[in-house]
Structure formats: C-alpha cells, structure tokens
Symmetry: C2
C-alpha cells in the first residue's frame, strides 16, 4: 500500500441533535466553498456525522504540509474565523468544539483487509 503523504486538519464538534448536525454540515460546507477549497493543494473536506446525531468530524485533506502552511500564511484568517463564528451562531442548537492541541494530522498507518493475525 502506498504511503499517504497527505496532510490533514480535523474539525471535531459535539452537537445537540440531528437538526443541529445537519445545519452544522451546511454551514461548514459553505465555509469550505467560500474560504478554503480554492487554495493550492486543497484536496477535500469530508463531513462525518454520527448516526446518533451528536457529533460531526470534518476531515480536511491537503496535498502536503507545505500546501497547508501556505494556506495558513496567505489566506484571510480573520475573515475565515469570523465566518466560523457566524456559522456557529446561526445554528438553532449548540455545537461544542472537541479539538485539543494543534488540529493537524498525518496518516501514519493504514491496515487493509487481510487474513487474521494470530499469536505467533
């Protein structure tokens, strides 16, 4: 399996139900379209919603760490932050961030399908 050389940021929130979850995805999808997706090296934002309506992960993929750093340095951070605040305020319910530390990631290991490994 080829090594994943992508660079990720993960946006992680708890929400108070299905309505807020759906509104959160709509609002943050719009933020990606207005503030992020046209920057070089942007690959995708994938919105994972929990089946119980209580959580959303947005996993944003960049081609490389250099592309992500370039985005951070050259984009309108104040404008984007204001848009995120506005998105959160627009929700009919509540959304609480669950991020901790610096929310950038690499994928260091992938386990594909295969036979069961038993004790050696």
């Amino acid at each position: 399996m080829s090594k994943d050389t992508g660079f990720y940021s993960i946006i992680d929130y708890t929400v108070d139900g299905f309505d807020t979850q759906r509104e959160f995805v709509e609002a943050f999808a719009e933020i990606m379209e207005r503030w992020v997706r046209f920057h070089p090296g942007y690959r995708s934002a994938r919105f994972h919603v929990s089946t119980d309506g209580t959580r959303v992960y947005n996993i944003v993929r960049w081609a490389s760490e250099a592309d992500y750093r370039h985005f951070v340095e050259t984009s309108d951070t104040d404008g984007r932050m204001a848009a995120i605040s506005g998105a959160l305020e627009s929700l009919s319910g509540t959304a609480e961030p669950r991020m901790s530390g610096i929310p950038t990631y690499t994928v260091v290991r992938e386990i594909g399908p295969g036979p069961q490994h038993l004790d050696s």
Copy 2:
C-alpha cells in the same frame, strides 16, 4: 462526485506525547489485524496522528452499515474488548478516550477543490 456509501467507526483518544502516540498506533494496528480486518466488508483502518503528539484518530471504514452490524453481531466482542484493555495498559504513558455517544458515522458531504463561492 459519487456518494460515499461507506459506514465508519471512529476511535478517538488523547495521548500524553509522541512515544505514547506511536505505541498506541502499534497496539491498535495489531488489534485490527487480529480481531477486525478479516471480517466481510472491512475496508480499512487509517491512523491519523496529530503533529503535536497529543491525539490519535483511527477511522475504520466498512463497505456498508450491514457489514458493520454483521461484524458486531458475529465477532468476539469480549475478546476484542479485552485486547483493547490490554493495549491501553501496555502503553508507557496515558491515553484517554474522547468518544461521545455512539461512535458510528456516515459521510454525508464532500467538498472537493473548486472556485471560490462568493456572496450571491
């Protein structure tokens, strides 16, 4: 873009540094190999590690919700849970779960690269 019909579980932990982060990935990769990856419909487990050494997400993909349910119903849950407890105890540092609610997910939206959307 084709709709993502996969079904996901997301394992989410904070850890106390790079050593524990690396040990966590090793231990949980082994759990996937011994307890999960040979079940029908298993697609992948991808270990996302934060660049600051404080967090790990393992995103496990199944072909469908039915495959995931079949895994839950037919697999050795007690054995797997014991293996997870053993893995956590084997770490030289600490790892704290950050999951909330039921940790199963679908991907409802993907935003690919494209032009900037401006106010209409």
